[in-house]
Symmetry: C2
Subunit: 125 residues, 2 copies
Amino acid sequence: MDTMGRHVIAELWECNLDILNDMERLEKTFVNAALKAGAEVREVAFHKFAPFGVSGVVIISESHLTIHSFPEHGYASIDVYTCGDIIDPHVAVQFIEDELEAKTSEKIEVPRGMGAVQIQNIKAQ
Amino acid sequence: MDTMGRHVIAELWECNLDILNDMERLEKTFVNAALKAGAEVREVAFHKFAPFGVSGVVIISESHLTIHSFPEHGYASIDVYTCGDIIDPHVAVQFIEDELEAKTSEKIEVPRGMGAVQIQNIKAQ
């Protein structure tokens, strides 16, 4: 398998607070985000913290999606990393952003497995 | 919990090929890397691909560590993301780098949960 990958780091703010604290819903959202992007889901692990917050990961054949939510701040820290050039990680990120009802977001894309680490582009809304 | 976090992206090259394909060993290495940095391990999920490669994640109370290994290229794609300012993600990254016997590496650190996404520093070896 080629080492080339695309890693999107997304900072989502002003999300729906209830959704950010709903582990089952977040788990479904992340699996669906992976599937929507055309990825193959391999492992799913989510964890709920007391009193607030959820951390979770979906390992896909093409790398991973992760979330760390901070309901008390309306913030979700998202990573979507996809290997190869078939799957577009931004499809998954946009799906997650919509599902979490984020009002503001910032994203950067980091190319992986291509030698020197450089930030490819910055997208802000 | 404060949203502030430090996310180290590490590209490890010229690693030990056998170690990169040994899922059990990588799982132990990543759990130990988390513990060595003083993190609290919450979930562990690893997956072995045929014929080569391992993907895995350790969810810690302070965020996550992930690996995607490409033994056929001697390459491991590593993320260590720690929330708060007590744990130093570079401690875990250095441990992993040593355990995988990486001869060359590149790292960037991305501050998370602090508003605008900026690359804080670039370290190359």
